[in-house]
């Protein structure tokens, strides 16, 4: 096992990784920017090394300085967290070339699954259902029109290098398809240096359901069940829960099996998430993309399975076989996570960095708060606006929602605006309670009322 690992991240996920390392007896070195020098992670870690100024490009994305810090601190492995360099296959390769283990999959799996077109081709090959559409990037307007006629309008135009809603466009007829494709290609070229686009059927009433998997270097891959992340705003997840309240046990089993199949086809190991779009009308699921890292919403899975995902990430990265088998995985109760952000939801979710003057986090049985914030902490403007992940675990969804309501009403954060009032309204909305939500509901219905 590793003696010491470096955490190439910040905020709550850096804290989260430190916590597990303390529990399993691994030393931690956290790298940080000058903007984060008073952060809790810097205080909590066994050692901290400043790697650059505030802007992420010069610090958390500065591969040279991170590697220099890793060598200086003589660490055995690097945990990339999520965001920043976590899905950068070049970084993973550089780390391994320096004889340091990267806590994640191989660069090859990352490359194979990080590109949407490649990932879709791999899924088709592995027999995992995908959204009807072009088999790969469309070469011309004619090809796009032919695909659209085959699957029927409306269709989606998607940049293969895009993500999180960027580089996506809807077309309702040939004319809008041709112009939309051109625009999308141009934008994607500018934004991602890659203008390739694919054409897909548009799913009108969709849920976002993803399967958490974890694999070891010995070919074992296990599914840890699903998370339903359908409550989104502009493709940003707001609420995540497990189990999904809209799928049948048979669908769940089938999705899990397909996720494992895909991971095995890519020679995947470590934690990963296979994202599916679930069509409420067709009652069918389609592979969307794979995230080759730990995800923000991983605690939801931890609560219902009892497994510490960060711990098992570290174990498998150290070459150990997975500590459990598929048949060991049992699910208990219902877990829900909401993301508390420093945003003013009444002003279009405008970020509100600043100093937290009073901070009291909620407590009680079944309540967990993953955060790096405290009274007196100043949220720097350089990074994302997440303050905390509030996770509750109840016997069933109704109890979990009751716990969540209590915890939200008890959460005191003063000095900055937060999304707590938004979540309070959301989780009391009868349509949310009754699972009538689609991935577009917050944008198209809830926020317009």
């Amino acid at each position: 096992m590793f003696k010491r690992i470096l955490i190439a991240n910040r905020g709550e996920i850096a804290m989260r990784i430190i916590r597990t390392c303390r529990r399993i007896g691994v030393e931690t070195v956290v790298v940080h920017s000058t903007a984060d020098k008073e952060s809790l992670a810097v205080r909590m870690a066994d050692a901290a090394i400043c790697i650059g100024p505030g802007p992420a490009k010069q610090s958390y994305l500065n591969i040279n300085n991170i590697i220099a810090a890793a060598e200086l601190a003589d660490v055995d492995a690097i945990h990339p967290g999520y965001g920043f360099l976590s899905e950068n296959s070049h970084f993973a390769q550089v780390v391994r070339d320096c004889k340091i283990e990267f806590i994640g999959p191989t660069s090859q799996s990352m490359d194979a699954l990080g590109n949407k077109a490649k990932a879709k081709a791999l899924a088709i090959e592995a027999g995992v259902p995908t959204v009807p559409g072009s088999p790969g990037p469309v070469k011309s307007a004619e090809e796009a029109i032919a695909v659209a006629h085959k699957i029927g309008y409306p269709v989606m135009i998607k940049a293969t290098a895009g993500g999180g809603g960027r580089g996506m466009r809807v077309a309702h007829n040939d004319a809008s398809l041709v112009s939309g494709l051109l625009q999308a290609q141009r934008e994607a070229e500018a934004a991602f240096g890659n203008g390739e686009c694919i054409i897909e059927a548009l799913i009108k009433r969709a849920r976002h359901i993803e399967i958490q998997i974890i694999g070891d270097m010995h070919g074992n891959v296990v599914s840890l069940g699903e998370r339903d992340c359908s409550t989104q705003r502009r493709h940003q997840k707001l609420v995540e829960e497990s189990p999904s309240p809209v799928i049948t046990p048979a669908t769940r089993a089938s999705m899990s099996a397909d996720a494992v199949k895909l991971a095995k086809a890519a020679g995947y190991f470590n934690a990963g998430t296979v994202e599916f779009i679930y069509d409420l009308d067709r009652k069918a699921y389609y592979f969307l993309e794979m995230n080759t890292r730990i995800q923000v919403e991983h605690p939801v899975t931890e609560m219902v399975t009892g497994y510490d995902l960060i711990k098992h990430q570290i174990h498998v990265a150290a070459g150990e076989p997975l500590h459990f088998k598929q048949e060991d995985v049992k699910f208990q109760g219902h877990a829900i996570e909401v993301r508390i952000n420093a945003e003013d939801f009444e002003k279009g979710f405008a970020p509100c960095p600043g100093k937290i003057s009073m901070y009291v986090s909620p407590s009680g049985k079944g309540v967990r708060v993953d955060s790096h914030c405290y009274a007196g902490y100043t949220i720097p403007p350089n990074y994302d606006s997440m303050i905390a992940k509030l996770i509750v675990h109840g016997e069933n969804r109704t109890e979990a929602l009751r716990f969540l309501d209590q915890a939200l009403s008890e959460y005191i954060i003063e000095g900055i605006k937060t999304t707590i009032p938004f979540h309070q309204r959301l989780i009391r909305d009868v349509r949310f309670v009754n699972n009538e939500v689609t991935t577009k509901w917050v944008d198209e219905v809830f926020m317009r009322e």
Partner: protein, 145 residues
Amino acid sequence: MDIKTLKELTRLMRENDLVEIEVESADLKVKLKKASAPIAQFVAAPSFAAPVAAAPAAVPVDEFAGCKQVISPIPGTMYLKPNPDAATFVGVGTPVDETKVVCLIEAMKVFNEIKPDAGIKGTIKKVCVSDGQAVEYGTVLFLVG
């Protein structure tokens, strides 16, 4: 209330080294406070971490006021000499500018030559690190004035 009372009060403050005075009576409520009142505390920003690298050396503001800092751009091991037997690149009194190599920082098996940032010109007033010391981004290496 008349201005005379206020004048009396300020004189009282002056004569008695008061920084604050507050008076409240049935017909008057006065509060006077001197600029110097908030006793500015110049404590070094608390460095929570026990970094592998040494924390940036505390800069004695008084003596080296106005000096510019040459900081480390990368975590690594700092060397003041090109090799163990050689003389140091610079010392207190050495004139430097952006073209002058002031030290080496070994990072990723590479010895990086460190030069002051553009605009830093003068003589070394203080060497803030010792040869072979681990440094992080932002560690102050030299003061130039």
